[in-house]
């Protein structure tokens, strides 16, 4: 087990800076979105308290709401912000592309795989580190939000376990992104191609999802296909904290796609040739 833990230790050492900075950014964003939610709610309360019951109802209808939403739902609408998704996607793409392609490109894979380390162990340490990072980053966002909720006024107090569901959904969103990037990396000789393909697929999925939710495009039939091909449809933090009906299904599909790609990566990596660098 010593080689396995030596590799894990190295991955932690190599990524700790990026991971801590990314986690700090998400922690700050979590806190910031609570602060913004608190300001919004204060404004809404100010408006609603100055209106009659009829006007209050009309005002809410104009906002597209039946009743004033719970604080956590307002806050969760910010959790789909591109900044949050970008941090998760960057981590997933970076870790996926470095696992094999980058190591072959810089020639350091020889150093490791000429020692008695199986290819399966080697890749497994990378996968474990990447998955740990995804959950750690999602946790940082949830912790930031919970601590932010402690220091800011919210109409409805937020429990940490309520935040755990969308955080889990966010971490799961990173799995397919990591998976398909790793798959490209596992069969390639360079890092840039895995990074590029991972980024293009992620961006395309995100654009497809954004286009599919534009209200004026709802009448077009092709919109449904755009929605179906995007993994971002499966990340729905507002739903996670309200009904939560689709959470398990979303988690299962995201984890399934991720696991499938990771499994294919293993199969490809243990069979492939590792030629000399340069």
């Amino acid at each position: 087990m010593k080689p396995f833990f030596a590799l894990l230790r190295k991955h932690v050492h190599d990524t700790r800076g990026t991971l801590i900075l990314s986690a700090a950014a998400l922690f700050g964003l979590g806190w910031l979105f609570v602060f913004v939610t608190s300001l919004n709610e204060t404004e809404i309360l100010k408006v609603l308290s100055s209106e009659t019951e009829d006007n209050r109802f009309r005002w809410l209808r104009n906002m597209g709401l039946e009743e004033q939403p719970p604080s956590v739902s307002i806050m969760m609408s910010f959790w789909s912000h591109p900044l949050i998704i970008s941090i998760i996607a960057i981590w997933a793409i970076a870790r996926g592309s470095i696992a094999v392609g980058a190591e072959v490109e810089r020639g350091t894979l020889d150093l490791i795989l000429s020692r008695p380390v199986s290819r399966t162990s080697y890749l497994l340490t990378h996968v474990l580190m990447a998955i740990f990072g995804l959950f750690f980053l999602a946790l940082a966002l949830a912790v930031g939000a919970r601590i932010g909720a402690h220091y800011n006024f919210l109409r409805v107090p937020i429990e940490f376990w309520t935040l755990a569901k969308p955080a889990l959904n966010l971490a799961a969103l990173g799995l397919p992104i990591y998976g398909y990037t790793l798959l490209v990396s596992a069969v390639d000789y360079v890092r840039w191609r895995a990074t590029m393909i991972g980024s293009v697929l992620t961006l395309a999925g995100f654009i497809a999802w954004v286009v599919s939710v534009i209200p004026v495009l709802q009448k077009y039939t092709w919109r449904v296909y755009l929605e179906r091909v995007s993994i971002f449809k499966l990340y729905n933090p507002v739903d996670d904290v309200s009904t939560g009906e689709s959470l398990l299904f979303n988690l299962a599909v995201l984890a399934g796609i991720g696991a499938g790609c990771i499994l294919l990566s293993f199969l490809a990596f243990i069979r492939r040739d590792l030629p000399a660098n340069g």
Partner: protein
């Protein structure tokens, strides 16, 4: 007593599409021997070594180390083998000591103390410095310290002296001899013929992925070259017990190889009508040039002979 074959390849072939990087390569290396691999870039040396380590999948044929299949039982093979890559790349952000410790941990931590001692005392490296601050030669020394410290039976060294200064080259050759004396088997690939000649027990010469020739260096060291000018035409045949081979022949002059006892040869020379005679040795370079020099032997001719 003959030592057992540690490493064996049978018809080992590696193809990349239509390109054959290694063709039907068969050899055996016995325990406690130093085996040299010679050939220009692209001749298949590194491909052979990577096939032995299970880094490449053979297209056909098989390579075994201690009877273990180098591809299917690669992990077990790598427990017995230490490898120095030809194009050495390291994790630059680590210190020399951290890198030694990390790579040693990948072998359950065995050999770290010896690697540190070798790196500091023999290779004169400052292990507290980051690897990025090391020159290419220093990185090579660090990798060599590790390779020679690994508790393994087989050392595979791909151009181990390529980036080293002359004194460090001497250290490496000394370490190779030391490894042999400890019973380790060494596969030594290189371009500096004098170094390969100095330490190898046997040498294989490769060309375009094909094994052209295997030379027993002990026999070669007893080789004499005779340039004889006869009075008249030289003899067409020689007594078999003299172990003479004709290398070149012109009207009166013959260039002969002699690997046998000196006494019978001198006696035979005394009986012949000789006008002039020169006796010398032949270095590995001359042999190498037969396959890679300007007048190189055509491989198809050699293979069919």
């Amino acid at each position: 007593m003959r030592s057992t074959a540690v490493l064996a390849t049978r018809e080992l072939t590696k193809a990349y599409g239509d390109f054959l990087a290694l063709r039907q390569f068969s050899l055996e290396v016995r325990q406690g021997k130093v085996f040299g691999l010679l050939g220009p870039n692209g001749s298949g040396k590194t491909t052979t070594l990577r096939l032995l380590l299970g880094l490449l999948h053979p297209t056909s044929g098989q390579a075994t180390i201690f009877g273990l299949d180098c591809w299917r039982q690669s992990l077990q093979v790598r427990r017995l083998v230490s490898y120095l890559p030809g194009e050495l790349r390291m994790y630059d952000s680590m210190s020399g000591l951290a890198l030694l410790r990390f790579l040693s941990d990948l072998r359950e931590g065995d050999g770290l103390d010896r690697a540190v001692a070798l790196a500091e005392q023999v290779m004169q490296l400052n292990l507290r410095k980051k690897v990025r601050a090391y020159s290419t030669g220093m990185k090579q020394k660090l990798a060599l310290a590790l390779a020679f410290s690994d508790p393994v039976d087989v050392l595979i060294l791909d151009e181990p002296t390529s980036a080293l200064d002359p004194s460090a080259r001497g250290d490496v050759l000394r370490l190779v001899r030391e490894a042999r004396s400890l019973g380790q088997t060494v596969i030594f690939s290189g371009h500096v013929l004098s170094e390969v000649e100095a330490v190898s027990d046997r040498v294989a010469i490769l060309r375009r992925g094909r094994l052209m020739h295997i030379e027993d260096m002990h026999a070669r060291r007893s080789l004499r070259m005779l340039l004889i000018k006869f009075a008249g035409k030289g003899p067409a045949e020689f007594p078999a017990e003299l172990e003479l081979t004709v290398r070149e022949r012109s009207d009166q002059t013959l260039l002969l190889e002699h690997r046998g006892q000196i006494g019978p040869l001198l006696h035979w020379l005394d009986t012949m009508p000789i006008l002039d005679l020169a006796i010398g040795t032949e270095d590995l370079h001359s042999l190498y040039d037969r396959f890679h020099g300007p007048d190189a032997i055509d491989e198809e001719t050699v293979m069919s002979s």
